[in-house]
Point group: C2
Chain length 355, copies 2
C-alpha cells in the first residue's frame, strides 16, 4: 500500500440522489451525474460497442487497414455567442480538437454542422466562421465537411454548432481513463475555472467586472510536446463541463483507483476564486476549455511537467496530486487545513449552456 | 456531338435572382441556391481546402498511412419528429450513411450529437435512439461517440440530432460530381418525392390522407451491389433537400456537362403527384431520403440497373436520362409533350425543416 493511503476522511457525504424525471432537465446537459445517468440508461443500452463503452473523450477505432483513429463529436450551445477570450466558433473547433488530443491522437479533419435560427445576422455568422478558421489553423486541422440547417425564429437561439473530428493515433499510444495506476502523478496544465466564470461575466450574472478571459485553446500541440518526452502518460482529460472534479472522478471510476489531490496545489486565479465565493460555486466544478489534466507515471512526471511548461498552453502546469491504490474509484482532496474530503462528480447543473 | 444535343429549348427562364439579406432566412437551409450562396460567400472563403471545395456529399481525405476516407456531417432538424415511414433518428443515421455511400465508400463509424430542449419526454428520446440503432444495425455501422447538450424551453424544438461519419474508400474508386462524361446514363433508384410529401402530410398541411411513407433507408448495401458489377460509376448523389433537380444541377455544374432527363421516365407515385399538383410543387424539387441518382458509363448502365433492381432499395430503378456534351452545366428535361425545358436548382425554400 502506498504511503498516500487515506488515514481519515472528513465530510464523506453521500452523493446526492439523482433526480429521476420523465422529461429532459437542464441537468441532463451538465456533463455530470445526470448526463452520465442518461448515457447509461438510454444511449449505451442501444448503441453499445467497445469504443463507446470506453467512455473516454474520443472513441478509438481501428480501420480495416490496421490504422487507429480517434473520433469525437461535440455540439456547442454556449450563450452568449461571444464572451471575453472567445466565441462559439473558437469553442467548437477547440472542443473537438481537444477531445481527440486527449487520446494522444493527432487531430486531422473536422466537420462543422450549423443550426441557424432564422433572423441571425449574417455578419455575426461571418465573424464566428472566421474565428473557427483561426482556431483550426492554429490547431493545424482542416474543416473538410459542413452542413447548414435553418430553423424558424424561436426554435433555436441564434446559432448552434456541432463539430466532429478524426485524429490519427500512433499504434504505440495507449492513453485512456482506464490506465491510471497507483503511484501516478496528476498534472494540471494551469489555473481552473477561467472559461466558466468568463462566460458568466459575459451574461452579466456576476454584477462586477472581472477582466477574466476564457482559456479556450487547442491543446494538441501541448499534447504532442508531452508525448515527445514520455511514453508513460496513462490518461488525459480536458476538464470541460463538470470541471476538474468530474474529469478526475471519471478516471478514478474507470481505473478503479482513488485519486488524491492537494487543495493548496490547485491553481485558481483570484478573479475566479472571488466569483466562486460570491456565487457559492466550487472552482473544481467550473468548466475549462483550454486545460488538461494528465495522469503520468511517477518517473516521467518531471520531464512531462517541464515539457508542458515550455509549451504555450502549459506555462502554469503543476502537479496537483497522485493516484492511490484503492478500488473504490473516489477522488479525495487533502484540504488546506489538513483534513481529507471526498470530491464527488457534479450532481445537478450549475451553469447551463457553458459550452 | 451526341445525338442527344438539344435542338430547341422552350421556357428557358432565367434563374430567379438570389434574395440578398443581411440576416439568415429559411431559404439558407433549403439545400438550393441560397444554401450554395451561403457556402460560396461565407464558408468556403474561410475553410477553403480541396476536400471541402469538391462540393460532394462527403469529403474525401487521405490519412497519413495512405488509406482514403470519406467524411460527412449532417444536422437534422426535421419537424415533426415522427412521420409515416420514419423519424428523426432513422433520418439522422441514414442521412450520413448515404452521404458517405455516395462517394463509393463503406460507412464504418458514426457519431451522434443531441441538442435536447428542456422538457422533452425521455420516452420519446428513447424511441428515437432505438430507431437510430435499428438503422445503424441495418447499415452495419457503429455509433462510436456521442454528445448531449440541453437548451432551455423555447430555445430548441424538442430534439435536433447531428450525425457525422467516416467511411473507408477503396483506393481504386473515384466517384464524384466532377466525373460525369458525355454519353453517361442517368439512373434513378426509384420514385421521387415520397419523403417530402410524407412529412408534409404528417404536419397536416395536405388536408387529406395519402397513405404515403417516407422512403428513408440506408443505401450503402445498394451502392455495394452496384460497385460489385461496375468500375464505371462516375458520380452519385442522394437527392435530399432540393430534390432530384438540385442534385443533377450540382453534377452538371461540377462536370461542366449538360444533363438531359426524360419527364416520362421519372417515376412519381400517384399520391406524390396529386399532392404536388394540389400545392403547386414540382416533384423534381421534393426531398428524398432513400433514393440515389447515379451517372454511369453507357456500357455498364445495363448491369448496374440489374444489380440495383436486385437490391432491396433499388427494385424500381430506371434510366431517366443521359449526359450531353455541353459546357453550360445545365439540366434539361424533355417533357411529355416533346419540348425541352431548363430545370434549375431550387431557388427559395419550399419545405423548411424537411430533414
Amino acid at each position: 500500500m502506498s504511503d498516500h493511503a487515506i488515514p481519515e476522511i472528513e465530510g464523506a457525504v453521500c452523493p446526492l440522489p439523482l433526480v429521476h424525471s420523465e422529461h429532459v432537465l437542464l441537468g441532463h446537459g451538465s456533463g455530470g451525474k445526470m448526463t452520465q445517468d442518461l448515457i447509461a440508461r438510454l444511449f449505451l443500452p442501444q448503441f453499445d460497442n467497445p469504443a463507446l463503452r470506453a467512455g473516454d473523450d474520443s472513441a478509438v477505432v481501428e480501420s480495416i487497414n490496421g490504422a487507429r483513429f480517434a473520433i469525437s463529436t461535440d455540439s456547442h450551445v454556449v450563450w452568449p455567442l461571444f464572451f471575453p477570450g472567445g466565441d462559439i466558433g473558437r469553442l467548437a473547433v477547440c472542443g473537438t480538437v481537444n477531445d481527440i488530443a486527449m487520446m494522444g491522437a493527432q487531430p486531422l479533419y473536422l466537420t462543422a454542422g450549423f443550426i441557424l435560427e432564422e433572423g441571425l445576422e449574417l455578419s455575426l455568422l461571418k465573424r464566428v466562421v472566421a474565428s473557427m478558421q483561426v482556431a483550426a489553423a492554429e490547431a493545424g486541422v482542416d474543416i473538410v465537411a459542413g452542413d447548414t440547417k435553418v430553423v424558424q425564429r424561436g426554435k433555436g437561439d441564434g446559432l448552434y454548432i456541432n463539430t466532429s473530428g478524426v485524429g490519427l493515433l500512433n499504434p504505440d499510444i495507449h492513453i485512456g481513463g482506464q490506465y491510471a495506476r497507483p503511484g501516478d502523478k496528476i498534472i494540471l496544465s494551469g489555473p481552473i475555472g477561467d472559461h466558466g466564470i468568463a462566460v458568466l461575466a459575459a451574461r452579466g450574472e456576476l454584477g462586477f467586472e472581472t477582466g477574466l478571459q476564457s482559456d479556450i485553446a487547442p491543446l494538441n500541440h501541448l499534447v504532442a510536446a508531452m508525448l515527445k518526452v514520455s511514453h508513460n502518460i496513462h490518461a488525459m482529460r480536458d476538464p470541460t463541463r463538470g470541471g476538474l472534479a468530474t474529469a478526475l472522478n471519471e478516471i478514478a471510476r474507470q481505473s478503479e483507483v482513488n485519486i488524491l489531490i492537494y487543495e493548496t496545489a490547485i491553481p485558481v486565479r483570484p478573479a475566479v476564486g472571488a466569483a466562486c465565493e460570491l456565487l457559492g460555486f466550487d472552482p473544481l466544478y467550473i468548466a475549462n476549455e483550454g486545460k488538461l489534466v494528465a495522469i503520468v507515471a511517477p518517473e516521467d512526471a518531471g520531464c512531462v511537467l517541464t515539457a508542458m511548461r515550455n509549451s504555450e498552453y502549459g506555462l502554469e502546469a503543476v502537479i496537483i496530486g497522485e493516484v492511490c491504490p484503492s478500488p473504490s474509484g473516489r477522488v479525495l482532496m487533502r484540504t488546506a487545513l489538513g483534513s481529507t474530503r471526498i470530491i464527488d462528480t457534479l450532481a445537478g447543473e450549475m451553469l447551463p449552456r457553458i459550452c
